[in-house]
Amino acid sequence: MVPISYYLVLSGILFGCGVVGFLIKRNIISIFMSIELMLNGVNLSFVAFAAQWHALSGQVFVFLVMVVAAAEAAVGLAIIIAVYRNRETLNVDQVNLLKL
């Protein structure tokens, strides 16, 4: 059997990839996908911990996270359309009316 730590390391790597992607990607859609990757990394660790503690709740949490992520995705994509309509670009470097 695969030990639980493997899953945890994998979930950590997924989360890390998401963070790095968030920081270095320039396209809003890619950034958004990185966030989804982070959430899925978290989901994996929920399932792994659920197996470790023999608690079903961990698996139910994944459902909840998935639904929340879907709601977030719908809203996010809608906002992205609104930005695109106003600016005709999805590059974060050009979405710069507000100085950061």
Partner: protein, 506 residues
Amino acid sequence: MNPGGESMQTLPLGVDYIRFLPEIVLSIFGMIVMVLDPLVDEQRSQKHLGMVALLGTLTALAATLLMSQYPGSAFWNMIQVDSFSVFFHFLVIAVAALVILSSYEYMTVQRIRAGEYYGLILFGAVGMALMSSAVELVLIFIALEISSISTYILAGFRRREAISSESSIKYFLLGSFATAFFLYGVALMFGATGSTSIWQISQVLHSRVPLLAYVATAFMFVGLGFKVASAPFHVWTPDVYEGAPAPIVGLMSTGPKAAVFAVLLRIFFQANAPGRFWLIWVSAALSMTLGNVAALVQTNIKRLLAYSSIAHAGYLLIAFAVPQTAIADTGISSAMFYTVAYAAMNVGAFAVVSHLAGAGEHRVELEDYAGLGRRSPLLAATLTIFLLSLIGIPMTGGFFAKFYVFSAALKANLVVLTIIGVINSAIGAYYYLRVIVLMYMREPREETALPRVPIGVGITLAITAITTICLGLFPGRVVNYSLRSAHELVHPEMSATDIRRPSVIR
């Protein structure tokens, strides 16, 4: 819930629903607004939807009163009704009501004709209210998302302005990034303790503190720190506040923040999440310093108030650094008092800003406030009250808020942090006073007549100004109430008896 053939006493009782009533009421009214919106005539204004939403918040306040009569836990220990959660329920629902009131005319001026606006405020209030009573980390996550997703949309509501949708996308991306961190923290806490219930976490952490719990706390703090705009996670704040509609900034700088502070209090003081001291210390010191220094050079009133809100998050965080001993009560209650005082003055200040901003929000530069004292003495006087309170002048709520936080910190021997706080208050006074000086000492840039103050904004300003002054003159009742809540938060076994039911599905 224990599926192993145990009797079905696990089904929720009627009283469970009473303990959840404010959220139910707000959701129902939110849905009514959403359903009515497509049904009303497109050309008509959406004012009556605003009335429905306002009615919803008032009903929810009544429901909170009813809820406060039934303290205890509900839905398998996922919700805890104690005076702490009642306190924050009142606060966030009142903030939502005031924001609805002050948006009333604003929507007409900005030519936004969409009733969803009010529905989203109500849904946001559901999330904020739920955050304060949830004692289950995953439920807290869901509540956090309900409130965040609503505010993401609300931030972009001036859809004709590129600046508003840009603010929305920034808030959305950074906010979701932060939520992912919080969620990872929750997962790690689940891994470290085998539970996501604040109760069971606290019990496990009482006997042993796994290393993973420290990591989990740090991750959760990063996520929540983003939401309350504390440094070094504050970069989004000025941009988002500048682009979002002004009444909504009044909402998101107070309501969700208060709720997230409630969550932080529960996680730190009720679940005993370990290793908070240095996290808080560094973040508080950085927030105060960066916020105040950056605010000195701002020329836009919304950005100025954004940096000021970062600084205030810093002052508030000082109260979180008190140790988990007898002093904890003082720290928690001072933080609670601070959220109320800050909510009153900030909602009021942003109501003034949203009224003066005019169509397209073009008048938000500091220069536009020059000579306001002559053009509209009453409005200037009200704004002055809020600004003085933000400085922390005696006789205003802001004074006692700072006073209690600093004295709690001194009791806990946090001398350095207190000194940083006091120095920053002095720096902060400069930029608030600059606005007051502009209003009273300078000639107005343009002599056009100001629009009359509409009744909604008028009521909001009256309520917030009176609250600010009352908190400054008679803070006793709020302080006593918050002390009692703090005591219940730290020693829950004295207040509620039925909280020990197991809640993990095994």
